[in-house]
Symmetry: C2
Subunit: 337 residues, 2 copies
């Protein structure tokens, strides 16, 4: 069933039906009603491909997610969900591409097959092949996260550096002298994963500013890895009384290891972090943390992308999120020595 069928049944030309659909030209009321009646009766909806072909836009956004092999963190999931929802609100569909490297077939299809009007990229590295690839293409895109050289690109990101520095200061204020940073996995950091490096920088900065001693360690993105990492930390650095972390997925494991070693949070040991908002509240004990507003960020990423699609030559914009640290129950004054 196509537009011609509607036209025939309504006794008008195809163009008139099109104008009823789009409202781009005046159509007399009787004709309009007649056509609309046929459309309703047959439950007609224009073929999206034909429309996309002619109009040159697909009303679809591409979202590049980490390959499915690795489980999404809560924060990533929050981004995906909010991007999808924001797109749906704008009557846009979302095409998913689970892409790791640069020369991924799915990624190439999306970028070069004109299947989408724009792309949102996640899990950005300081040097990112995919970003480089998109910069060379005419396709508008926005990143959640940013490269080492983010000027010239629209992005949203979390100020991990500043936030972790603030966490360190908070711990210092509470009297902690020996603290640790639990980073993301060693592979991610080695690959130049932005938040990992920026968190490390912020940690170093905070530690030196306050004259603390700090250890940093990498840790896989799951509870078991967290448990192992924390067990090792407690063994090798028994004087550490607090950790800051950007690794939400490891948190349950950290907690478990502390319990196993008889360290009670927050009485004996403080935990503070940067985490998706709901995570922190749902944790036990409720986590003192900078609550990353994944919902807002995803929506903002979509908004920025729509801007770039509407005006590709306009100056790119960005939004660095710096949520305040919500004081909950997982950080407390350092235990007496």
């Amino acid at each position: 069933m196509n537009i011609g069928e509607i036209a025939r049944r309504a006794g008008v030309s195809r163009s008139t039906v099109s104008y009823v659909l789009s409202g781009k030209r005046a159509v007399s009321e009787p004709t309009r009603q007649r056509i609309q009646a046929v459309i309703d009766e047959l439950d007609y909806r224009p073929n999206a491909n034909a429309r996309a072909l002619k109009e040159g836009r697909t009303r679809t956004l591409g979202l590049v997610i980490p390959p499915a092999s690795q489980r999404l963190t809560d924060m990533q999931l929050g981004f995906v969900a909010s991007v999808v929802e924001a797109a749906a609100r704008a009557d846009l569909d979302v095409l998913l591409s689970p892409s790791g490297g640069d020369h991924d077939r799915s990624f190439e299809r999306i970028v070069t097959g004109r299947r989408v009007d724009g792309v949102i990229l996640m899990e950005i590295r300081l040097e990112d092949d995919r970003v480089a690839r998109l910069r060379r293409s005419p396709l508008p895109f926005v990143t959640i996260g940013r490269t080492a050289e983010p000027a010239g690109t629209s992005w949203v990101d979390v100020d991990y550096e500043g936030l972790i520095a603030r966490c360190v200061h908070h711990l210092a204020d509470l009297g902690h002298r020996h603290i640790a940073l639990v980073n993301r996995s060693a592979e991610l950091v080695a690959a130049g994963y932005g938040p990992g490096h920026r968190a490390l920088a912020g940690f170093g900065q905070g530690v030196t500013e306050r004259g603390l001693t700090g250890v940093d360690l990498c840790c896989g993105d799951d509870a078991s890895a967290g448990e192992a990492a924390m067990t090792r930390l407690l063994a090798t650095h028994p004087d550490v009384t607090a950790v800051a972390t950007i690794n939400e997925a490891a948190l349950p494991g950290l907690q478990r290891a502390l319990e196993a070693e008889g360290r009670q949070v927050p009485r004996d040991f403080s935990v503070i972090g940067v985490a998706a908002a709901h995570w922190a509240e749902d944790f036990h004990p409720p986590l003192t943390a900078a609550d990353v507003p994944t919902l807002d960020m995803g929506a903002e990423a979509v908004a920025l992308l729509l801007e770039r699609i509407a005006a590709p030559t306009a100056a790119p914009r960005h939004h660095l999120y710096r949520p305040p640290i919500s004081l909950r129950a997982s950080a407390a004054p350092a235990p007496p020595r």
Copy 2:
């Protein structure tokens, strides 16, 4: 840059270029190489919309997920990830539709706009509007989960009824006499959510077969709800010594409440469930559970869908998963009275 451009540069007709691309007709080797060279040089890729328009298929699958407002459970996330990955392996893209009810705009776009070749539906209710809608349409579809009347539809599902019954038997074997079922949220169950009802049936069956006393309760899909539910349960039914559950998201909360009440798992209290495979292992203590193979199920859903797309009139197939219960550390003999 379109196929005409390539043809012009190579000095051939558009059809010849098309035949090089598709290989559907013989092209002399010199011509083929010349054309291929131009294609490579310009990094040309055919416009997906034009192709879809002509061919009548989009090489895209639709995946209908629960609306973004509610967070995805681990099992749902597992399904999404594996569907996306399986589709990518088959060089198919996945279009996401976050749809709750029947008359969702995004859902309608997908179903009727010919944007996808087929649809995978999740979170199926016993009476499901979306399934009914798709049955009326010519679009092939597969469900993860099944309705009350699943004949005539291709689906994959977990045998919640049988599995929960087995869980009950296992608990009975261990000597537990008073057990509880922690179901999904009251709203879901009230809405006719399949697993909720089937788990309840299996629970009832097991309990009567073994002459146990059983309580069942609904519980929201998050840790706090789980904590509240378990606290209430322990207060109202102090003689309960074990729970079975299909609500993975509530598990951390159940655990917390038990701890708070001084009940140690599994010494004083057993927990057993049906959960995504990785969840169970990552839990603490490692969860005795029927491990739902989300990866296989997503891949199988895609395979079934491809079958239906290839042969829409063939008899629908299905696959009911009945994973064995993996004995881990969360269930043990009932404590002495």
